[in-house]
Symmetry: C2
Subunit: 215 residues, 2 copies
């Protein structure tokens, strides 16, 4: 067997093991009554800014917590912790995505039943996070107006595995000559019927619509 | 041996095999007298717009060609072919990076000795492309002002394996309140001494400085 074939086989085994852990996580989340929402996007699409806004808005209304994945640094966890919500950083080293086992390990000691909502912010990557189920109930793919309207066509899998598409940085739409129709058309062509929400974490535009699907 | 350990081992073997092909490619490029420059970045950082500008500017001055990697679509190859340069698309399917063997295969039938410069545009991904040598003489990491100044700290390896950092979309710097000093400081902290060039593919700002290191 050549190395490429063996790599594919071992990867499939890793994915299968991930699915087993993800299924157990999903059941645990359901039993604890916590709604788990994951966020995937390209680096710099605004996951942390979006989550910062969501956590701050929900403070006092819902019991919310977050796990944040990055290759290095705990900058995002520090930023998000300012909202007052419990936040933990998962540092993945060279791994380009979160896996169910990392989520399981990071939850240690947390009483899930005391939470209404748990967010999982994945590593910024439009490819590999698509393949790893984290036990979430809802997966949001974020996509900023600065990235180019063709991205859904070029990274179809991540849009295909998401439940809702959130177009971020709408405050920059005019500056970057964002073609709204093309973006919507491209998202719908790879994931027909998906709900699309346009937001600006800066101005707060669209946040109430987001909150209505989250909580 | 558990699956994770086996995955690491098989991956290391893939990387070793990639290095062998990359070394052969590098020698072939040198013998043909073609300078090979690769581009890595996050999705939407502006690799294609940058390359479009470079190819158009060099048309008639240098004999230039490009290979462009994407998971799906040949949009980028079509865009770049408008410059008149020979361009080929590498479609990687689910693979999140280019490998030396893909470059080797895509070069089939091309007379490298007839070229001065060959560009390799990698898949948009700030993680995995860092590990794969493509036989290039120069690797540029592109990083747009819209992504956030902290990205070098969060994705250190890709900055560490690059020879030059190019900050793109400088025309949007004011609109996104880009903190130039923080960006430079963060790049230098993960890759001390690296040359940094600021460009706008839209206005052409900084392009001459780029061309001076490319050709």
């Amino acid at each position: 067997m050549n190395t490429q074939t063996r790599l594919v086989e071992v990867r499939q085994k890793v994915l299968k093991q991930n699915d087993v852990v993800a299924r157990a996580l999903r059941q645990r989340f359901q039993e604890a009554g916590v709604r788990v929402v994951s966020l995937v996007s390209s680096p710099g699409a605004g996951k942390t800014a979006f989550l910062e806004r969501v956590l701050t808005t929900l403070a006092g209304r819902k019991r919310v917590a977050a796990l944040v994945g990055d290759l290095a640094t705990d900058n995002d966890a520090q930023r998000l912790a300012r909202s007052g919500a419990p936040v933990r950083q998962i540092t993945t080293g060279t791994v380009c995505h979160l896996e169910a086992q990392m989520v399981l390990d990071a939850l240690e000691g947390w009483d899930l039943a005391s939470l209404d909502l748990l967010f999982l912010e994945n590593v910024g990557n439009l490819v590999c996070p698509a393949s790893y189920d984290l036990g979430e109930a809802l997966r949001l793919v974020l996509f900023s107006v600065t990235e180019g309207e063709d991205k859904p066509l070029k990274y179809p899998t991540i849009f295909n595995t998401a439940d809702v598409a959130v177009i971020t940085k709408m405050d920059l739409a005019t500056a970057v000559e964002f073609d709204r129709e093309a973006a919507h058309r491209n998202i719908q062509s790879v994931r027909p019927g998906i709900q699309i929400i346009e937001v600006s974490s800066k101005s707060g535009h669209g946040m109430e619509e987001c909150l209505s699907i989250l909580a």
